[in-house]
């Protein structure tokens, strides 16, 4: 057992709920006895569960009211996905282009690509066949809520080749950044997301690498 196995098999939450077999539980206990990272995660999840149960008992975690049906309807995946893609396409056409488009490409259905952040230097996300249409990069904006987001695509030399502003989290709380695939030559890129609240300056939230082949 190693840390990756723990994460991939969601052992922390499953262990705390008693969902592991006796054998799995024993192996996991032997592992976390000496793995401080997993132990810290266990302690945190345990405290969160205890805190939420306590909050529920005190009436501070009420079930949603019937009026929330409207909110659910307009945040349903189908509605949100359609709205996000439309917003992305309309904003991206007003974004800054660093390269001249040869001819208007045939706009096929955009390729939706969730970007995965990793700790290693190797990009976890590889995109193929981008030259024919738009690529919509889906990125997690993080927990801190901002009033305004913008994103930039940088090439391997750190040069900005694409910018999109006025973004808002949409489908499943992702930010959707539409990029014309024809400007993405094979190579490594970074998607940098900035956020700001009110009139404050933009601050970098995340930087996620991806590769085009």
């Amino acid at each position: 057992m190693d840390r990756n196995y723990v994460i991939e098999n969601e052992l922390v939450d499953r262990y705390l709920r008693g969902d592991l077999s006796d054998e799995e539980s024993a192996a996991f206990e032997e592992f976390y006895l000496s793995d401080q990272e997993t132990l810290a995660e266990l302690e945190l999840a345990d405290k969160l569960e205890a805190g939420l149960k306590d909050a529920a008992e005190r009436g501070r975690l009420a079930k949603p009211s019937r009026q929330d049906w409207f909110v659910r309807a307009v945040t349903s995946p189908q509605w949100a996905a359609a709205a996000s893609v439309l917003l992305v396409l309309s904003l991206s056409y007003t974004g800054m282009l660093q390269r001249q488009l040869g001819s208007t490409p045939d706009v096929a259905a955009p390729q939706l690509v969730p970007l995965i952040a990793t700790r290693s230097a190797t990009p976890a996300t590889v995109i193929s066949n981008v030259s024919d249409g738009w690529v919509v990069l889906l990125v997690d904006p993080g927990f801190e809520p901002y009033s305004d987001y913008r994103a930039a695509v940088l090439d391997r030399d750190g040069e900005t080749i694409w910018v999109a502003g006025g973004l808002r989290p949409g489908y499943e709380d992702y930010l959707a950044v539409g990029v014309d695939g024809s400007i993405l030559d094979p190579g490594r890129y970074d998607l940098v997301v900035h956020g700001r609240s009110g009139s404050a300056d933009f601050a970098e939230i995340s930087r996620t690498a991806f590769e085009v082949r």
Binding site: E10, D13, R17, D19, A26, E29, E30, F31, Y32, L33, S34, D35, Q36, L39, E41, L42, E43, L44, A45, D46, K47, L48, E49, A50, G51, L52, K53, D54, A55, A56, R60, L61, K63, P64, D68, V71, R72, T75, S76, P77, P114, D140, G142, F143, P145, E172, D173
Partner: protein
């Protein structure tokens, strides 16, 4: 005795090294043994007993038994030190429950006393207040009702992930992200509460 545990190599080789050094009378190795495994053992024992004081007692007993054996070099597989410690702890819990069950069934028995008020430990009460404050802040910050619902159903109602995803029409990936982000934020808020608590103690 609660020093930071150095991250020095894989578990089997670290364990074998500790076992060897303890058998040779290295006192520093006994301290390292405590530093490496005591927190994990306490967590395991707390979960199994539901009693923080009993868990602490059983942890002490676990180390006492283990050191007795390790000093005489009697561990067959030194690389399996964690499994050995876990085995002692689990047996102690089982033995303790059997002893309490056999003792008597009168209302004034030790079982009733042991199952008493968890908040009798003042440090646990402080911790509970800090957790409550951090959770309250977390819930305030959650702008999306659906995210609160995910947390409530998973942690309070103990519904399983597939059921929650089906009922709320969300993907497992999104479910995982909500939980991950909530835990990250909770960690930050809890650390802040703990820092405030320490400052108040100093004042």
């Amino acid at each position: 005795m609660t020093e930071a545990v150095p991250d020095s190599g894989d578990e089997q080789s670290v364990a074998a090294d500790l076992v060897g050094r303890i058998a040779r009378g290295d006192a520093a190795a006994e301290t390292e043994l405590w530093n490496r495994y005591s927190r994990g053992l306490l967590f395991l024992l707390r979960r199994r007993t539901g009693d923080p004081d009993l868990a602490d007692d059983l942890r002490q007993e676990t180390f006492r038994i283990a050191l007795e054996k390790l000093r005489t070099g009697g561990l067959a597989d030194p690389g399996r030190l964690a499994a050995y410690l876990r085995g002692i702890a689990v047996n102690l819990v089982t033995g303790d429950w059997r002893k309490r069950f056999r003792r008597n069934t009168s209302p004034d028995s030790d079982i009733v006393a042991a199952a008493g008020d968890d908040s009798s430990n003042p440090m646990d009460e402080v911790s509970r207040q800090q957790i409550a404050a951090a959770v309250a802040e977390l819930l305030n910050e959650l702008g999306v009702t659906r995210d609160r619902e995910i947390l409530r159903r998973f942690y309070v109602d103990e519904a399983d992930k597939a059921q929650i995803c089906g009922e709320l029409d969300i993907s497992p990936t999104h479910f995982n992200r909500v939980l991950f982000r909530a835990k990250q934020r909770f960690r930050t808020l809890l650390l802040r509460e703990e820092r405030i608590g320490k400052l108040e103690l100093v004042e």
